[in-house]
């Protein structure tokens, strides 16, 4: 049994929270006291309000909208699922980006009555920005359009055009009614024209992300010392593999070392594979520090103080300031930086790079140049996502103000 993480995205009122409520309800994993509580807090409806299962804050229930992401869990014989229910409003896109950064799949909901909206385009852009490996397009409220096949096909074709521009991968389409349950967990008898699998069947079969096994990268999180032992360097083996005796390089200092010991959990081991949480020791007392990137040179790192990146601005209280000092973080590595220029802004309608603009706003996707105080070590996002992405932190408020992926 593995874990699959997915997020639901869609415009306001497209039925995201209702879909999650439906999935949980049909799988039979909403306990009776929770069902009772969501019935109680909505006195205007006789039926239970599926959306209230995930709308956990008072204002959300009062306004009937999702403001921040909520996490929900269910389990089948196959998998444990971690669901992120994301807000639909434009102003809460920063929360969508938060919730989508680690997922294996994004479900994009589209209201069959309305079709593709600007928010659909924005959510698709987020999926593209984060390189989400599976995109499930759920065309919802089919019950409101008399289960009309042509409407489904027309929206599907329009989506495929934008998906091509954004280079989205593994896209599948589902005609559903989250409210009534059609093609969510059970095959709909009202859409006999649809021969595909249900949304749930799709979730059961798609692949969860697996780490890259052939490019070795290890980011030091902390140093573990005891009275009797020398310094151990602890962190996650992000990708690749390590064994005792391997020659490695500690970056950005470009120091060489040889691995003497490896600990995983509370056991001494001879080797480690991608994903292991390890603590390693070096021969001859060589030392590393938090933030160091330890590699084997299957594919070399980039070394530069100038990064070309695509950035999503997430701070709604402060605009991006060209030339202002920020803190940049990649894995556990931190350094002062400045964003020195905006090369372009991605146009939400055409997805083209618009070079005319110098203005940036919350939730914009921008091509930027970031200059760091010193030369740093990194990968491009396309080589290895884990070492090719990062965040920008405001130095005064410490707010996580932007997320970026490295082009080169």
């Amino acid at each position: 049994m593995d874990i699959l993480r997915f997020i639901t995205a869609g415009n306001i009122d497209d039925g995201k929270s209702t879909l999650i409520g439906r999935l949980l309800y049909d799988i039979g994993q909403i306990k009776s006291d929770i069902i009772q509580s969501v019935s109680k807090s909505d006195k205007t409806l006789n039926s239970i309000n599926l959306a209230h299962i995930t709308d956990g804050l008072r204002s959300e229930r009062e306004q009937g909208i999702t403001i921040d992401i909520a996490y929900k869990y269910f389990t089948t014989q196959n998998r444990k699922y971690i669901i992120t229910d994301a807000p639909g409003h434009f102003q809460y896109t920063k929360n969508l980006v938060t919730g989508a950064s680690e997922v294996d799949a994004m479900i994009i909901l589209i209201d069959a009555n309305i079709g593709i909206t600007e928010q659909t385009r924005r959510h698709s852009l987020v999926a593209s920005f984060l390189n989400i490996p599976n995109v499930l397009v759920a065309i919802n409220k089919m019950d409101n359009v008399a289960y009309n096949e042509e409407i489904f096909i027309s929206i599907k074709n329009q989506f495929l055009v934008l998906a091509k521009k954004l280079k989205l991968q593994n896209i599948s389409f589902f005609p559903i009614s989250a409210l009534l349950g059609d093609n969510v967990n059970l095959v709909s008898s009202r859409m006999t024209w649809y021969n595909g699998i249900t949304l749930m069947q799709c979730l059961e079969t798609i692949n969860a992300k697996i780490p890259n096994s052939h490019i070795t990268r290890f980011s030091v999180q902390c140093i573990i010392e005891t009275k009797d032992s020398e310094k151990g360097f602890a962190g996650k083996l992000i990708s690749g593999n390590l064994k005792i005796g391997d020659s490695i390089e500690i970056n950005p200092e470009r120091k060489s070392a040889i691995i003497k010991n490896i600990i995983i959990g509370n056991t001494y081991r001879n080797d480690a594979i991608a994903g292991d949480d390890i603590c390693i020791y070096f021969e001859n007392g060589v030392e590393a520090k938090r933030g160091d990137l330890i590699i084997k040179n299957e594919i070399p790192l980039f070394f530069s103080n100038k990064i070309e990146a695509t950035l999503c601005w997430l701070n709604d209280e402060k605009q991006l300031q060209i030339g202002e000092e920020y803190l940049l973080r990649i894995n556990s590595f931190e350094i002062k930086c400045r964003i020195t220029s905006i090369r372009h802004k991605i146009d939400i309608q055409s997805f083209e790079k618009n070079t005319e603009t110098n203005l940036s706003a919350i939730n914009d996707f921008l091509g930027v140049i970031i200059e760091t105080a010193e030369v740093i070590a990194f990968d491009s996002f396309s080589t290895l996502p884990e070492t090719g992405c990062g965040i920008i932190i405001d130095l005064k408020t410490n707010y996580t103000s932007a997320a970026f992926i490295i082009e080169k």
Binding site: K31, Y73, T75, Q77, N398
Partner: protein
């Protein structure tokens, strides 16, 4: 209802996520502390901290905010654990806060000091200058918790700001704070009750005896079994019954209900939870049920 037993590697994934978070805590903060209640979730935290920082002993002192309404079994378990591993234990009593600040000690049938705990906690954070408080909160427990970040920033008043949480992307947990603020870190955010039990089974983690079926004198209050103790006030209508019960959660004796149970082993507990039609807190906490936003309100005042 599916009966879910531990198979495959999902527990490894959860364990790995938690270890990663513990190492971030150790790497990022100067003065972290682990909030310990003697319950299964904070016991799991200690186990995971030990694994994350092996071969060193977990360096995090344990903080117990003591309401004075504890189960004796939980206190005994706490003291044994502290002795066994040589942890530093800090206890701060809600009763002292009540005296110092001239607060009103709650009265009534179930005089819960649950809300007052937040004041003692915030005072203790200031007293020691803790920058991170590690808690065993899980997102599947309660709908407000379901919305909280893993690194959850609390402002100068100790309050959670649910409508202005920091973006938290990838594994880049941002624990940077200004003086006076603190971070609540929840390493087992993504674990469900069932995951916790399956992991306890797999790793053979010891728990207080309260979690397993035993005989206890209880009263039945609106369908909830509350243990008879010096902390609650019985009245004429109460009938004391001896029941075979266990605790699904361990909180204060004034607000935690027992459930009738025959489950004496971890395996039996897992079977019991799998077939239960009630959620963990719904079945066992009388303090969440005061209003639709009880937990959110407590978090706004500095609660875990």
């Amino acid at each position: 209802m599916l009966n879910i037993k531990a198979v495959g590697n999902y527990l490894d994934t959860l364990e790995s996520e938690s270890i990663y978070i513990f190492r971030e805590i150790y790497g990022q903060f100067k003065k972290p502390v682990l909030l310990f209640s003697g319950g299964k979730d904070s016991t799991l935290l200690i186990y995971l901290a030990q694994k994350a920082l092996f071969p060193a002993n977990s360096p995090f002192p344990l903080l117990h905010i003591d309401t004075g309404h504890n189960f004796k079994e939980a206190l005994d378990f706490r003291d044994e654990l502290v002795k066994k591993f040589g942890f530093e234990l800090i206890v701060r009593k809600v009763e002292d806060t009540i005296k110092e600040k001239n607060l009103i000690d709650p009265t009534g049938k179930f005089p819960s000091r649950n809300i007052l705990q937040s004041i003692t906690l915030l005072d203790t954070i200031n007293e020691f200058g803790f920058d991170a408080c590690i808690g065993g909160g899980r997102r599947d427990e309660e709908k407000a918790r379901a919305k909280e970040r893993i690194f959850s920033i609390r402002d100068k008043n100790g309050a959670w700001q649910p409508y202005n949480q920091r973006p938290e992307l990838w594994k880049l947990y941002n624990g940077k704070i200004n003086t006076g603020e603190n971070v609540r870190v929840f390493p087992i955010s993504n674990w469900s009750e069932m995951d916790v039990w399956n992991y306890i089974l797999r790793e053979k983690i010891e728990l207080p005896s309260l979690y397993f079926a035993h005989d206890r004198k209880c009263i039945n209050f609106n369908g909830k079994l509350i243990a008879v103790s010096n902390f609650i006030n019985l009245d004429k209508n109460d009938t004391i019954e001896e029941k075979k019960v266990r605790y699904r959660t361990v909180g204060d004796m004034t607000c935690t209900a027992a459930i009738e149970s025959e489950a004496e082993s971890i395996e039996q507990v897992i079977d019991e939870i799998a077939s239960s039609n009630m959620s963990e807190r719904g079945e066992t906490r009388i303090d969440d049920q005061f209003s639709d936003a009880a937990m959110e309100d407590r978090k706004l005042q500095g609660y875990f």
